[in-house]
């Protein structure tokens, strides 16, 4: 057992932190106290992170074939310094590095063995040869293994697959509740899960994208029961249909003749998709009417993209509704203006309509456990289980770890214990290090509000640009239209 003697920044108390406990469940290790987590002295965090990274690397170096190959080619056998991990960071290409034809030809066995190189979970016993769709394959893995993998919206024309384990989703839910149901400076006793707070989700209940998978865990640990989880659409956001949407968009962007044909699998599910599309207006009407008014005045938990929140609020206020829920309701939304154009004061009508006294902003992505939560100064504080890096976007060399720097964001997420947590993003961020702490009292470094996709800046538009979460519904509906018009 390795332990780090920790000092809190306030100097009030010192304690000993067991690294294995921290790695296993960082928030549990601090009794879900945001105050303790985000108030650690920088040297304690640095010691925890370096020790944690060494452990993760030692564990994964030979256990993850994809990492092994990368480390072999880079000649890296040990981590002595945080920066040593930089050549070993994966990026979005890694998680979609399978040949796209595997999906078209339904070679899910081969896809499983590819995924097996990215996770320590043994997938050799999984027989995916009978799967006929991405949806089936993902569900098979979920039923037969400890994984609950997620996919991205994939603007490049194919989907990335991230091998999250169910345990990681559970830990992530604990992180999420610590960040958004507790406040910094609050010394209240630990939260007791489930919270039994009704959850409101204005999108699909089920699906393979990170923000729909997490519903399973919010239903269990926040809502406490499926009855208290209220999604706008009861069905599943189909990965196959999203893939179709992504391929259509990629082909259109390349100016290619539209030659996409529907596979027999999608053809066979045409009726299911038709029903889904047919019922969408009724579902959203029921949701905005009956469901929301039934919850009126209650403390609820809700996650949604900021443009969706804003459009719901605008519509609701126009119809004369206001202060829908209890002021202590927890509303979490993705900030960081990824391609969204909202008025500067978009939060005011949202608060007015939903009635929550604050809107919580988070910066996150499918590749990272729990988002960074924004403090009252509008800063996204880096969670201590995340080792942040800011890189020169041209050279990918690390920028100084002091002061305020702007560049490409990369990180190592120490929490996952079945997959490699190193990832290089496509986002340009401005990060202020611990030596210039935020006035909110958190000691952790923080990202500034303005975050942009490097691809939008680049002179040659990068085809890898992600659809923001905000535009995924549009692409999905477009695919439903395409499918149901029989345009193929």
């Amino acid at each position: 057992m390795e332990a780090i003697a920790a000092v809190r920044a306030t100097g009030a108390r010192s304690e000993t932190i067991d690294i294995d406990r921290f790695l296993a469940d960082p928030t549990e290790c601090f009794d879900q106290s945001q105050t303790r987590l985000m108030g650690m002295a920088p040297e304690t965090v640095a010691a925890l992170q370096l020790a944690g990274l060494k452990r993760r690397f030692a564990r994964f170096r030979s256990a993850l074939p994809m990492l092994q190959r990368l480390a072999d080619s880079e000649g890296i056998d040990a981590i002595e310094d945080l920066g040593d991990v930089l050549p070993l960071l994966f990026d979005h290409s890694t998680y979609k590095s399978y040949p796209a034809s595997l999906l078209e030809k339904q070679r899910f066995g081969a896809l499983t063995s590819w995924l097996g190189k990215l996770t320590t979970v043994d997938l050799s016993g999984v027989d995916a040869s009978n799967c006929r769709s991405v949806d089936q394959w993902m569900q098979l893995l979920r039923t037969e293994t400890p994984l609950s993998i997620c996919h991205t919206s994939g603007t490049s024309g194919t989907l990335s697959f991230l091998p999250w384990s169910k345990r990681e989703w559970r830990v992530m839910t604990g992180q999420f509740t610590t960040l958004f149901f507790r406040r910094f400076g609050d010394e209240a006793p630990p939260l007791k899960l489930p919270l039994n707070v009704p959850c409101v989700y204005p999108f699909f209940r089920h699906g393979g994208m990170a923000h729909t998978i997490v519903n399973d865990y919010f239903a269990e640990f926040v809502a406490g029961s499926e009855e208290r989880f209220h999604a706008a659409y009861p069905g599943r956001l189909s990965a196959d249909l999203l893939l179709l949407a992504a391929r259509r968009r990629a082909a259109a962007a390349r100016g290619e003749v539209d030659t996409l044909k529907l596979g027999p699998e999608l053809e066979a599910r045409r009726e299911e998709f038709e029903a889904q599309q047919r019922n969408m207006p009724q579902h959203i009407a029921d949701f905005s009417g009956a469901v929301l008014s039934r919850l009126a005045g209650q403390r609820i938990f809700m996650t949604a993209t900021s443009n969706l929140l804003y459009s719901m609020a605008e519509r609701g206020l126009k119809e004369g509704s206001r202060k829908l829920f209890h002021p202590s309701s927890v509303i979490v939304t993705g900030g960081g203006g990824k391609g969204m154009v909202l008025p500067d004061d978009w939060q005011a009508p949202v608060k007015e309509f939903f009635g929550a006294d604050r809107i919580n902003l988070g910066y996150g992505m499918s590749e990272m456990c729990a988002p960074f939560a924004s403090c009252e100064y509008g800063h996204y504080h880096v969670n201590p289980w995340i080792i942040p890096f800011v890189l020169d976007p041209d050279t990918n060399l690390q920028l100084p770890r002091t002061g305020t720097v702007t560049g490409r964001f990369a990180f190592y997420d120490l929490m996952p214990d079945t997959r490699w947590g190193g990832f290089i993003t496509g986002d340009e961020v401005t990060l202020t290090w611990e030596d210039l702490p935020c006035a909110c009292g958190r000691t952790a470094p923080y990202l500034h509000r303005k975050i942009i996709r490097l691809s939008q800046k680049a002179k040659h538009a990068d085809g890898e640009e992600k659809l923001s979460c905000g535009s995924a519904p549009g692409a999905y509906e477009e695919a439903l239209d395409f499918l149901n018009d029989g345009a193929a």
């Binding site: 990026d91 290409s93 399978y98 041209d394």
Partner: protein
Amino acid sequence: MSATQAARTFRAGCVIRGQWIDEGLLEFGGRSVGITFLSPDPRQILSRLPLGGAQAMTDLYALSFDDILDYIERLGVRLRLADNIHLQEALEASCLTSSLTRPLLQRTYESLPHLFNARFAREMADNTIGIPYLEGWVPKTLIDGRTVSVRAFGARSLHIIAGNSPFIAALSVLRNAVTRGDAIIKSPSNDPFTALAIARTMIELDPAHPLTRHLSVAYWKGGDEAFESRLYQPRHIEKIVAWGGFASVKHVTRYIQPGLELISLDPKRSVSIVGAEVFQSEATMRDVARRLATDIGAMNQEGCVNARVAYVLSGTGEAGLSRLDRLARYTYDAMMGLPPAVSTAAKEMDDGLRSLLNAARLNQEWYNVVGGLKDEGAIIVSRLPEPVDFASRLGKRVANLVPIDGIEEVCAAVDAYTQTVGVYPESLKRQLRDRLALCGAQRFTSLGYAAHAAVAAPQDAIESTRELCKWVVCEDCDPMVTPPLWEDALMFRANAA
């Protein structure tokens, strides 16, 4: 260029029909272009850009074709990089704006005198149009007895050129000269100086010459609709030649209307097909590898002619794949050994491509990546009989070898976007050319010559030089020979005599 480096400023100016204009300058370019350049405010030159009426082209018809060739020859002599200050400046600017590296740019500029050469220009004009049609009316007696004479007249054209090679600007000037056209060349931001340098050299050569006085070169920002919608009108321009990317060509189509036609040289890509004969001997493999490396690497794979994917009849079994791995290694070695004037490491690697390449390298089950660790170029061998998913992004000397078992599979290699198909051996080319032409392929060539295309030939399956002309007909009809309509004659009847 690094993010912190300030862009250098160049004074560009513009040329309108023999006049050099460098007043009312505005700043263009910037960090994303690589330089800042000063060029006249497009709004201020707008009214001077169109030729005032087509009759203003009569001066071109006082020239014989030999006069035109003589001018071209004299221009070629002046386009020697070593002596020409305008070209020297264009080279310096291009080194900052172009995706090509200095040795490649320098070699391209050095080859300009060879392009502006009377013999060469005559061959181009004769092969693509036919000099008699440019020189006068070419008569032919039809079966109904009448005589039809055809002559190719020059047109008022706008050339929206691409900047991936300075050669495109030069070729546009040459085509305008041999067709007796009045051209406005819109310079691209990645090559703002080449066309201008040639136009300025023409002024120095002979400011009053009709060929000098029917060439204009200017810059405006593509997509400036207020400007474009005023210039791109049938009363000013009859033809638009649009080179370049999908978005920019598509953008231009909005101005096309009756009286204003589009000659579209839209984006293309090229492939190679290699027959099983490559594996006959070690020497053959080395020879084919060098040819393939040239098709991939010449001009740093910046052209539409460059091979990106090569289909090889290696077979897809273990033995086939290992043969292909060896060919990939030889190709990589040959590419690294190409002379710097032909190919160099890329000026700037595409980050997205690098990450895709690195990800492919981690998936040995499906790909064998040779090289590429230093952004110097790489050969990716597919282990499945299909190209990499990012085939459309291949560039920067990164190419993909795809194993196939049978020649039937190569049809998948070409579509309407396929320009050049480099083939080895020659017998395979003859075997494939009809079938692949129907699939969309536009040019077949011997492997190794993809980037060395004939100028005296159609381009992209269209006769673009020919289309630059207006094909005018003059008929002589004698009622005694060709029965007239006023006698209620049956149309399209052959002459009884």
